[in-house]
Structures are given as C-alpha cells and as structure tokens.
C-alpha cells in the first residue's frame, strides 16, 4: 500500500468515486459518523451505491442525507429502524432501497475477515434464526456454526480524532466503533480527522489504526452534530 495522501478538502478526498461502489461508512448512530466525507460525496454525485454501516441514517444528516439524495441502491446494516430513521423507512417502504440485515457482530467480523485475508469463517451467531436461513452450517465440537463470508469495500469512510501525516490514527471514546475494522477492509480508505499532526507526535503505543491501512486523509472543522441530533 502506497503512502497516504493528505488532502486539503473533503471534496478532493472523495474525488473519483465511481457509480456502483461499495462504501463502508463508520459510525454508530452519529458517533464516529464521517459527516464531511458524506456531504462531499453528495456533492460529488456518485450513484447506485451500496452502503455498509451499522445504521441506515439518523435524522436528516450524514448517511440519512445521502439516502435522501437518492444515491444509494442498497444498505447492509444491523439496525436500520430507529426513532429517527424516517428517511430510510420511507425509501424502504416505497421499495426504493434494498436492505441486507446482518447481526452487528457478524457485520464487523465479516469486514474484519475481508481485511485480514480470511476466506470465510464459521460463526455461532444467528444459528436457528431467519438470518441464517439458506446458509451453510457445520457442527464443530458439538456446536452448530454458520458459514459467513467477508464484506469488502471499494471505499471506507472513517472519522477519527487525530492523524499524523503518514496516516496513523487515534480515535475518541465510543466514536472509535467500526473505524479501525473498516479501515482494513476497503481498497481505498478515506479518513476525516479533527487534526493532522506531524509524524512523531502520536505515541506509537497508542496508535489504533496503523498508517498502512489509510489512503487519504483530510482535516475538517469540528464535529457538526449534537447529542440532540443523535436521538
């Protein structure tokens, strides 16, 4: 993997994203949501996208705004239905968007497998439930497991706290969530951060995502969301 590029704007950071791309989008609700990258993608205009994310948008911002712009064909997520998921709900009920519902741990482990070069894995989650129907199973040491395949992205959009100019990342609190795993699972990982610092500034013992996984970095102004907006 070549060295990460530091971009001056979010629009530059998302340039070249093709129609039909699979994009892994970090965040749990709005914590860790890469708002500026998503807003830039709305301006960039790529369509027919598949979005892999824990939720399917909250309120009218971030992922919900991307859905409302009509750029998304399919959402792969664990928890679409929430009190403030009206954008997704409307599109889904109108038959304008596809949903693949995946248990949250399987969602992240399938991306971990993609990033770690694992062909598939046997997982005990969802055995005997509708979400395992039609999937291959195997009994191992007296327990039944379901075969699960990797989820690989063409792109990952991640929000981290700080990056150095090489692309080493640290996160903040529970905004870390899917970021470190998604960073490994995409061909091109694009990261927005609050601050880009010189190489040597971050404590190597505290780096969460090593630079090898990061392709594009952009510093953005503050987090444009509130807790009220998250509910």
């Amino acid at each position: 993997m070549s060295r990460a590029q530091v971009h001056q704007t979010a629009d530059q950071a998302v340039a070249g994203i093709e129609d039909g791309s699979v994009i892994l989008v970090g965040g749990f609700g709005l914590a860790g949501m890469p708002f500026e990258l998503i807003d830039a993608l709305i301006r960039q205009g790529a369509t027919d996208l598949t979005i892999v994310s824990n939720n399917a948008g909250n309120g009218d911002v971030g992922l919900a705004a991307l859905l409302a712009a009509g750029q998304v064909r399919k959402v792969v997520c664990s928890f679409p239905r929430q009190a403030d998921s009206w954008v997704f709900d409307g599109l889904y009920r109108a038959g304008k968007i596809d949903l693949e519902l995946v248990p949250q741990g399987n969602l992240v482990e399938r991306m971990r497998a993609a990033g770690a070069g694992i062909g598939a894995f046997y997982c005990p989650t969802a055995v005997g439930t509708p979400l395992a129907e039609g999937k291959e199973t195997r009994e191992i040491d007296g327990r039944i497991y379901v075969l699960e395949y990797p989820i690989k992205g063409d792109y990952a959009f991640i929000s981290a706290y700080r990056a150095d100019t090489l692309g080493n990342l640290v996160y903040r609190k529970t905004a870390r969530n899917f970021g470190p795993v998604m960073a490994t699972a995409a061909t091109t990982t694009i990261v927005q951060v609050s601050e880009i610092v010189p190489v040597g500034t971050l404590d190597p013992e505290a780096v969460v995502t090593p630079s090898i996984y990061v392709d594009r970095i952009v510093a953005v102004q503050g987090r444009q969301y509130t807790v009220e907006g998250a509910r």
Partner: protein, 215 residues
C-alpha cells in the same frame, strides 16, 4: 409479595442477583434501569463492570449537562459517562467479548421466551415492520448467562413464556432465566422452575402460563 412488580422493582430484583465482579451487558430499553441497582463494593464503588456493544467497558451513568459528549454514548445512543478503569475498543473486539464467552451476564428484553430458552426479541415478523437486529443475536448466544427482563403477559393477557415461540427467533436455547413482573423462572435442562412469584399464586401462574412449571 402481594402485587406484581413494577419494572423499577423488577430491575432492583435483577440487580441484586447479578454477582459482584461480573462483566455485564444491559440491553437497550427496560434492562437499562438495572444499572441503578447493581452491587457495590465496601467503598460504595460499582462492583460490576458494564460493557456496551459500541466499544466500552466501565460505562458510567447517563451524562448530564457539561458531561454530555457526542463521542461517548451507549448502545441506545444515549450520552453516558466513563468510570475510572474504563477501556475503549473497536467493534470486532466488542463482539469477540460476547461470542468468546467473556461476558458473564447480559439482560435483554423479549417478545417471547420458550420453555427450552429460545429467545424472540428482534422482529415481530409482520410484513409492514422494518426488522432491526443490532447486537441481540450476538449477545444471546455469547454471554454465559442470558437473563430476560419482560412483562409476563401481553396487553391481551397472553403469556410470553410459551412452549414454542411464534415470533422469529433471536437465538436457540440461550436464555437461562426469565425475570418478569409476576414471577422469576429458571430455564433448566429438566424444565422451567419457578423461583419466585409476585402477586400471583403458583396455581394461578400454572393456569395462565402454557408451560409446565416446576415448583
């Protein structure tokens, strides 16, 4: 007890039953109330470490005022606080803690629980309802003890402890105990045992719950 428990009283009952020293995940909704009733150590500090699926051990109470930080929320996306000794980790680690058998107890809500401990709590199965599963299936098969906290009867008076679940399953034979407003049930290999009743006789409980109940 001469009357059924309120959900707050039930939360206190469950909190008293969670052993000190446990690592515990409380599901969103009613189980969140249990956080106010967990055991404390001799110095009054929490004796249970709370796990939240979105990547934290050592979760503290809900945040208020200046404590509110959009980067620090619980599984219900409510702002929370961190306690001394807290740790943050990514989602793959968080769910490895569940699947890998590292969590001692989780408490989940339920639509139905079957006599053999099948859990249904993620989807009504109605075509007009949008399904959402979150971390429920991972918790159900992962935590060493899965407790359910629920009202025992629907608004129509139907028991939610049933011979076979009619709602789509979350997990198979995964529930070890059911805490309800009318009774506490242990789900055992030899059957369902009633551990406590609240405002109902065992005879009436047997009349209203269509599952063989061991006394």
């Amino acid at each position: 007890m001469t009357s059924p428990l309120s959900m707050d009283e039930l939360a206190a009952v469950i909190g008293r039953d969670i052993p000190a020293g446990s690592y515990v995940n409380l599901g969103i909704g009613q189980p969140t109330k249990i956080a106010d009733h967990l055991p404390a150590d001799e110095d009054g500090n929490p004796a249970v470490i709370l796990h939240t699926e979105n990547g934290m051990l050592g979760m503290g109470p809900a945040a208020v005022g200046d404590e509110i930080d959009p980067d620090l929320t619980n599984a219900g996306k409510v702002p929370v606080t961190e306690l001394a000794g807290a740790a943050y980790f990514h989602h793959a680690d968080s769910f490895a803690m569940m699947r890998g058998g590292h969590l001692d107890v989780c408490v989940l809500g339920a639509y139905q629980v079957s006599a053999r401990g099948d859990l249904a709590n993620w989807h009504t199965g109605k075509p007009e309802d949008i399904p959402a599963v979150g971390g429920a299936m991972d918790l159900a098969i992962g935590a060493r003890d899965v407790y359910v906290m629920m009202s025992l009867f629907t608004r129509n008076g139907d028991a939610k402890l049933v011979p076979e679940c009619s709602y789509p399953l979350t997990g198979v034979a995964c529930v070890s105990r059911v805490y309800s407003d009318y009774a506490v049930f242990d789900i055992r290999p030899d059957g369902v045992r009633v551990l406590a009743t609240y405002g109902i006789s065992l005879a009436e409980l047997r009349d209203r719950v269509p599952v063989k109940l061991l006394g």
